[in-house]
């Protein structure tokens, strides 16, 4: 038993002799240049197992944006039963970029919401590439308020390049819709879990990610602006996006380290719709723990915890 100094590796601390993917989220996962002795939590009874990853931040961004990455509806159908999609913002329309409704898991009723990308070009156009308009955020808020009324936990699947920026979106108050969601979500009296499954595009993603806990899939990204945008503002050159991605700290490992998220869902291989089992198993286990944790908590306490979670940044 000892500590190795590793270049560009993931390290996982496991109890001696045991090794399961579900333990991954319990330990400190990061991409490191040098593994320092201080990083180890407890040497006794632990064995360090090293798994190297050759993926760069930019690689992970590409995977996050990949067309065959599972979408919100894919996760909803795999994790929950009796999903009934609900529509409309009760004001003017139904945004196809946001899906949401009622579902059931572990004998509990929950509200699930997600940003939905398309599987084909045709579907992507219908779904506006997962870029919500104000109407989508207002639908999400309506469903979340309803969840609070009926004491249902809320689970959000975040996957968007960003909020849609078009003339109509501005006319209908894209900024206000996002702000309103941040405002209201912050004090909902039911537990909220947000999982970034693909792209977490800035404020457009945050509007569904004011959660008690926020998780990310290992190959997802969550950023304040796209690496392309970053590189063009910083270096006046869109082509240095790969470099920007590393500096920006937008990968799951980076954000776990910064304390922006609580958990990284392991992807030994990038998850595909045909085989979501590794990821689904971790998510189910995690959701179970999450729901158990908040089961006995009072609404006020749940909201207070969420407030403090964001207050510390």
């Amino acid at each position: 038993m000892g500590i190795k100094y590793i270049h560009r590796a993931y390290y996982v601390l496991c109890p001696a002799g045991e090794e399961t993917t579900s333990l991954f989220h319990k330990v400190y996962a990061r991409e490191v240049n040098v593994l320092r002795k201080e990083d180890v939590m407890e040497e006794k009874d632990f064995e360090i197992k090293v798994e190297t990853s050759q993926l760069t931040a930019w690689d992970r961004v590409q995977i996050a944006r990949n067309a065959d990455r599972p979408t919100a509806l894919d996760y909803i159908s795999v994790l929950f039963s009796r999903f009934m999609e609900l529509h409309g913002d009760r004001l003017e329309g139904d945004d196809p970029a946001v899906v949401g409704g009622l579902a059931r898991i572990f004998d509990m009723n929950v509200t699930v919401i997600g940003q939905q990308k398309g599987r084909s070009t045709k579907e992507n156009i219908k779904r506006n590439f997962g870029m919500p308009s104000p109407s989508g955020y207002r639908k999400a808020l309506r469903l979340m308020r309803q969840a609070e009324k009926f004491n249902r936990p809320i689970i959000c699947f975040v996957d968007t390049p960003g909020a849609f920026c078009g003339i109509e979106a501005e006319e209908k108050g894209e900024g206000e819709a996002i702000a309103r969601n941040l405002f209201e979500m912050s004090s909902l009296k039911v537990p909220i879990l947000s999982i970034v499954i693909g792209e977490g595009g800035s404020g457009g993603a945050l509007a569904l990610a004011v959660g008690n806990e926020v998780w990310m899939l290992e190959n997802s990204m969550y950023s304040i602006l796209s690496p392309e945008g970053f590189s063009s503002i910083l270096w006046k050159d869109k082509k240095r996006a790969a470099e920007a991605a590393s500096i920006m700290k937008c990968t799951a490992a980076d954000l776990k380290e910064l304390g922006i998220i609580e958990r990284v869902i392991r992807e030994r291989e990038p998850v595909k719709t045909e085989d979501m089992s590794e990821v689904a198993e971790q998510m189910k286990e995690g959701i179970f723990e999450f729901l158990e944790k908040y089961k006995e908590m009072q609404g006020e306490q749940i909201a207070q915890e969420r407030y403090e979670r964001f207050r510390k940044f």
Partner: protein, 288 residues
Amino acid sequence: MFEGMFKKTYIKPDKKQRPKKVKKILREIPQVPEGLFQKCDACGHTIYSEDIAENYYICPKCEEYFRIRPRTRISMILDQDSFVEWDTGLETSDPLEFPDYKKKLAHLREVTNLEEAVITGEGSIGGAHVAIAVMGTDFMMGSMGEVVGEKITRAIERATSYKIPILIFCCSGGARMQEGMISLMQMAKTSAALKRHDEAGLLYISILTDPTTGGVTASFAMLGDIILAEPKALIGFAGPRVIEQTIGQKLPEGFQRAEFLLEHGFIDKIVERKNLRYTLATLLNGHV
């Protein structure tokens, strides 16, 4: 009017004959001080700086609103000598260890005499005790990072605990990208503090000034119980250039200006700068 109508003749003084005394005086006459005149970017006229200052920092020729510094705004809005600043000395943790960021901050602090992009504190308007936060574009385009978010959140929380209204003058290019996701979190943090302020039954007036964009628009700027704006201020979520690129067409006239937002139902009132203090005093009187 008579320019060019008369032929001018110049008589040069004979240098040899000028007495020494006069020469000395001539050398001592100071240069025209810098900043005495300013050029208006909108109409191109050169204007006497003092005229601009006396006209609420609005161009007397074309009525273009100049952007003003936070301390100037505070002196225009609050009762004289009532301002007490809060939360000075905060420094960012530089979460991304962004190259040259700390150097840039140090330089800006020297040049602008500001610590960060927002000044917060308390004061009174027409006698009403208020908390106030004023942003300015001099410092990193008013971008919101950790310190801006923290100062604003503390001001809101303090206003909630003192049970007083809070006024926020919004002016920003958006979230500060040098601080990455920490900047994004400020959107949630400030909005959450405002929700609590709201639940306590307290007033929040946001005043949108030119420009109010990005993460600031998508958080505290659009959450005022009452939202005021200065005429022709640029207020929007996505930047105009990004929208143009996305949709591939030119934007309509007046898009994302205060008047546009008023028409579409997103602000309460456009208030001319000279009426702002009075309007705020009236509103505060109606709510306290």
